[in-house]
């Protein structure tokens, strides 16, 4: 186990720069999740950590040593790939023991480690099967088994659950978390799934366009997104944004005045952010014209118009109103985020 | 004595042939310890091609079997070592015994460049059963009557063809190896080119007559199988075939046997004639062991070994050309047949046509003659155009 430090790490493919100088400190044993829109450089960053891509500039340290020019095999990391990358021509046991074979580990020891990993992952009955004979979740487990047998310093995961269906994803998410709690190996985990990021991470790194937007604990990002990008990215459905300016009586937008947190000078043009789940029904408060009502059982999602802006509200109640009618809603100013119109930076 | 390995290329891969050659080579090794001879068999179809490739690659054999058609090329190229002096100096060789005609092809400016190793006359094999069935007179009867000429011969063939069998086959001609037709056109006195090889005579009247005769035999009377018809005399499917006498070994035995005969070529408008095929053996002049190669050739072709070789390869030595010697090695043939066909043939025969650059001429003529093998061909026109094409090459 070891800490991981990225200092001013850059990456270009030919002329195209894709990572623009990234600094991340990961403590020993920490579970860090990288999120960001597709193409923002998550995989690239992870692969540079693994040594599968060269580093154009900067340094990467694992433990106390700079690994920039080390081969993947010399970095003492293990990686789980999105499509698992199991060796189709080897049995489960062979897949898991493969990396040890090349490290002069005795046969008996290999067998012991494989059995240990298989026990942890519930794979004992499948050790003699081939990958094609396994279900998606089992394959995923084998991929993890392959990573843990070696007891590496760092685990790297690149969207390991995205090939599974929703139910299985939930199960495997729990297993990975349990595994981390058990082994406490430093972990870097790439995903684009909100829920995975929020529930698994000690620390989330939000990337966008090859730069870090924000680093923080999950609820920190949810509660105090540093900018509009992070605000829109974390949370589902997305935060609603309404353009306007801070007025004396509240936030003024075309056709409506909304409750506004203090601390921003009156007259500032700003973007008003409010999460769908933070609207509450209140007959005599703000009037919103209903566009679509989507009951989902426990919740009702309502698309509605506040002033000229169409927003989404998520209510725990059943909403029996129909499109065209008006809904009364209220907003707690403490739940409102304000961002600068130009830079998108948080104002409050 | 230094270790010397001589290499000789031949076309035959036949075990009996090779055994005989090896036996002779062993005899030579006894005389010259340290000298060995190996025989490389190259496929007959591509013999000259492969030999040429070896020469081009700088790997010419020490000795090579050479076909009559390419004789001119090899003899004139300067690639072969002169033989006369060594032969003359070899004890008991009796160079004079080798007939003048037989060596003509292999000489240039009086010097001998290859030994006429196999001299095989063309003759006519006959299936008397088929002919009798067709109600025709057999060649033997015609010879008896002194009426053995091409008109009658082709009439026999035509009458057999009318019964559904085949008439006359010029073996190995196949509408490709046109030079084998010399066995017919010589009866008209025709030749593809003048004696000095400089003038095309394809379009001369003799050749036109001869070719018209052949054309009509193919397309009018059906006496000869047409192009693209592969039929074989030795399976009993044809009345007659023109081929070299050595093919007698192909005659079927037992159940399939038929009443056969071997007769000389019929006489043509220009009288009687005979034609021979000939292969020579030469030694290459550029190797390290030229002298030894020439000595081996002298040994191979001395009277004693020639007699051995005669069982497969008809010799060009006067002393061996008698029914007695030949009969010992060709038990199928009667003394009379040997006398009239073989001895007379070798003694009087004209060798198949050859020319410098023959391979190319052969191809060009072959391509031109393809126009002749159509039912409505204009013989004169085709032959004229043959001359037009080959005159620049002569």
């Amino acid at each position: 186990m070891a800490s991981v430090t990225l200092s001013d790490v850059k990456k270009s493919y030919g002329k195209a720069e894709v990572i623009f100088g990234i600094d991340i400190d990961i403590a020993d044993g920490e579970f860090v999740v990288l999120v960001g829109p597709s193409g923002c450089g998550k995989s690239t960053l992870l692969r540079m950590l693994a040594g599968l891509e060269t580093i154009t500039d900067g340094t990467i340290e694992i433990g106390d040593s700079v690994v920039n020019d080390l081969e993947p095999k010399d970095r003492d990391i293990a990686m789980v790939f999105q499509n698992y990358a199991l060796y189709p021509h080897m049995s489960v046991a062979a897949n898991m023991g493969f990396s040890l074979q090349h490290r002069r580990v005795s046969k008996a020891k290999i067998e012991e480690r494989v059995r240990w990993a298989a026990t942890i992952l519930g794979l004992e009955p499948y050790l003699d099967r081939y990958p094609r004979q396994l279900s998606g979740g089992q394959r995923q487990r084998v991929a993890m088994g392959r990573a843990i047998v070696r007891d590496p310093k760092v685990f790297l995961f690149d969207e390991p659950l995205s090939n599974l269906d929703a139910k299985l994803r939930v199960v495997m998410r729990g297993e990975i978390k349990a595994l981390h709690q058990r082994l406490r190996t430093t972990t870097v985990y790439v995903t684009h799934d909100q829920v995975e990021a929020m529930t698994m991470a000690d620390k989330i790194v939000v990337l966008s366009g090859g730069r870090v937007e924000q680093i923080g604990a999950p609820l920190e990002l949810y509660d105090r997104p540093a900018n509009r990008f992070v605000a829109g990215f974390i949370g589902s459905p997305s935060m609603n944004f309404i353009e306007g300016r801070v007025g004396a009586g509240g936030f003024e937008t075309d056709g409506a005045i909304l409750p506004c947190p203090p601390g921003v000078p009156v007259g500032t043009g700003a973007i008003y952010g409010i999460r769908p789940e933070h609207f509450t029904l209140a007959p005599d408060a703000i009037a919103a014209e209903i566009l679509i009502v989507e009951p989902m059982g426990s919740e009702t999602q309502v698309t509605m118009k506040i002033g000229q802006t169409s927003v989404i509200g998520l209510f725990r109640e059943r909403v029996s109103a129909t499109p065209g009618q008006t809904l009364g809603i209220s907003i707690d100013p403490a739940r409102v985020h304000l961002f600068a119109t130009d830079t998108g930076q948080r104002l409050t | 004595q230094d270790q010397v390995d001589l290499r000789m290329t031949i076309w035959s891969a036949n075990e009996a042939h090779l055994a005989m050659f090896n036996e002779i080579a062993d005899g030579f090794t006894e005389l010259h310890p340290g000298v060995t001879v190996t025989f490389d068999s190259l496929p007959f179809d591509s013999y000259t091609t492969t030999l040429t490739t070896q020469i081009a690659g700088g790997n010419a054999p020490d000795l090579a079997w050479i076909l009559e058609t390419t004789a001119a090329d090899f003899v004139n190229s300067g690639a072969l070592a002169p033989l006369s002096e060594t032969f003359a100096a070899t004890e008991g060789y009796e160079l004079d015994d080798v007939t003048e005609q037989a060596t003509a092809l292999w000489r240039a400016d009086g010097e001998l460049y290859a030994y006429p190793f196999s001299t095989s006359p063309f003759a006519l094999f006959v299936n008397n059963d088929l002919i009798s069935e067709a109600g025709a007179q057999t060649p033997a009867e015609l010879i008896e009557a002194g009426e053995w000429n091409w008109d009658n011969a082709i009439a026999i063939a035509a009458s057999v063809a009318d019964t559904g069998a085949n008439g006359l086959i010029v073996r190995d001609f196949n509408y490709q190896i046109w030079q084998n037709l010399a066995s017919i056109w010589r009866g008209w006195g025709a030749d593809p080119w003048s004696e000095d090889g400089a003038t095309c005579t394809f379009a001369d009247a003799e050749m036109v007559d001869a070719m018209s005769f052949i054309h009509s035999a193919i397309f009018e009377t059906g006496a000869m199988p047409g192009p693209g018809e592969n039929v074989d005399f030795f399976t009993g499917d044809a009345a007659m075939t023109i081929t070299q006498i050595s093919r007698a070994s192909l005659l079927p035995q037992g159940d399939d046997a038929f009443d056969w005969d071997l007769v000389p070529l019929p006489s043509g408008p220009a009288g009687s004639y005979s034609v021979i095929g000939q292969a020579g053996i030469g030694a290459f002049g550029m190797g390290d062991n030229v002298d030894m190669a020439v000595q081996f050739l002298a040994y191979l072709s001395n009277p004693e070994n020639s007699a051995k070789l005669a069982q497969f390869f008809p010799p060009a030595r006067q002393s061996l050309l008698n029914a007695e010697t030949l009969g010992a090695t060709n038990p199928l043939l009667s003394p009379q047949q040997l006398e009239t066909v073989v001895v007379a043939g070798i003694t009087n025969g004209v060798v198949l046509p050859g020319h410098a650059g023959f391979a190319e001429i052969q191809q060009v003529v072959r391509a031109e003659l393809d126009a002749l093998w159509q039912a409505d061909a204009d013989v004169q026109a085709v032959l004229t155009s043959v001359c037009d094409r080959i005159t620049p090459m002569l």
């Binding site: 001013d8 060269t54 923080g216 | 693209g228």
Partner: protein
């Protein structure tokens, strides 16, 4: 925790010479080394030598090897046989490619059906590929004779077949057809794989759309398998320009010069007529033709071929 502000960047480190990239490049060179050396020795040097020979007059028997510049190339331009040879080559290659590709496609489409015993048919259609070329051609030589099997078969239908190998047109057709039957199995299998790679949904979508079966073939199947069609057509063309043994066995280039294709012609010139210098010149011509054709086809792929990515 926010972006860590690094007080001092780490000291510039000297990168070792054997960086990951360099090590990998070395591995790459080692992997291709055996073949690269082989190609150099057995292809490039011989090709260079062939070019060198083409600048010479080289008569093997006469032992002449004389530098004469581009004289052989001048001969080439005035060679009376060459136009015929090029025409025969063109007809042969075009005919072969068209017949081969369409038959391969037809067979692949037939074999693409889910029918009992289809594997047996597939095997049988493929079987000539594994039969020796020489044996195959010899057998066809028999069958194509005027009194051979083909005409016997036609005769049972009351048709009098032509003398296949003795007329310029039928001889060319025969050589093409024999060659196609020998090797069409290869293309058939490649097409079959391509057909099976076309997503079934496209056909289902077309069925729902009401696309007639024939249109499904021309508008969906063909474009979808066009990359395979291109690749196989290149392989087939290149192969057709190298065809030799078939000609040698079946027609020897005849009747007339009608089936004398370029390889056969250069073989004749070099090996039968002993004109190695001129043969080398024809070799260079053949090489250039093959290279140019391949290049053109490769360029055409942008226009004619659909590529998914």
């Amino acid at each position: 925790m926010t972006v860590a502000a690094k007080s001092s960047s780490p000291p510039a480190r000297k990168r070792p010479f054997w960086t990951m990239e360099r090590r990998d490049s070395l591995a790459g060179y080692l992997f291709i080394a055996p073949q690269m050396i082989g190609i150099t020795v057995f292809v490039l040097i011989p090709l260079g030598l062939v070019f060198w020979y083409s600048l010479h007059e080289w008569n093997v028997l006469a032992q002449t090897f004389r530098f004469q510049g581009l004289a052989n190339y001048q001969t080439l331009l005035s060679d009376p046989g060459l136009p015929q040879v090029l025409a025969a080559t063109g007809i042969f290659s075009v005919g072969l490619v068209i017949f081969n590709m369409s038959l391969a496609l037809l067979l692949a489409v037939l074999l693409d059906q889910k029918l009992k015993g289809i594997a047996v048919y597939r095997t049988l259609f493929f079987s000539p590929v594994v039969v020796s070329l020489v044996a195959w051609t010899i057998v066809w030589g028999f069958l194509l004779q005027n009194n051979g099997g083909i005409n016997a078969l036609l005769a049972t239908f009351g048709i009098e077949g032509p003398n296949w190998l003795r007329h310029p047109t039928t001889a060319m057709i025969s050589v093409i057809v024999v060659q196609v039957f020998k090797n069409v199995g290869l293309n058939m299998v490649l097409f079959l794989a391509a057909l099976q790679g076309v997503p079934r949904e496209l056909y289902e979508a077309a069925r729902v759309d009401g696309t007639p079966v024939f249109k499904q073939f021309t508008r969906i199947t063909l474009p979808m398998i066009s990359p395979t069609v291109l690749l196989t057509s290149i392989i087939t063309i290149v192969g057709s320009l190298q065809v030799f043994a078939q000609i040698a066995v079946l027609t020897q280039g005849g009747p007339g010069m009608s089936t004398t294709v370029l390889v056969y012609y250069l073989y004749q010139q070099a090996f039968q007529f002993h004109k190695f210098g001129y043969g080398a010149t024809l070799s260079i011509l053949l090489f250039v033709i093959v290279a140019v054709l391949t290049f053109i086809q490769w360029q055409m792929r942008r226009k004619l071929v659909f590529y998914e990515n």
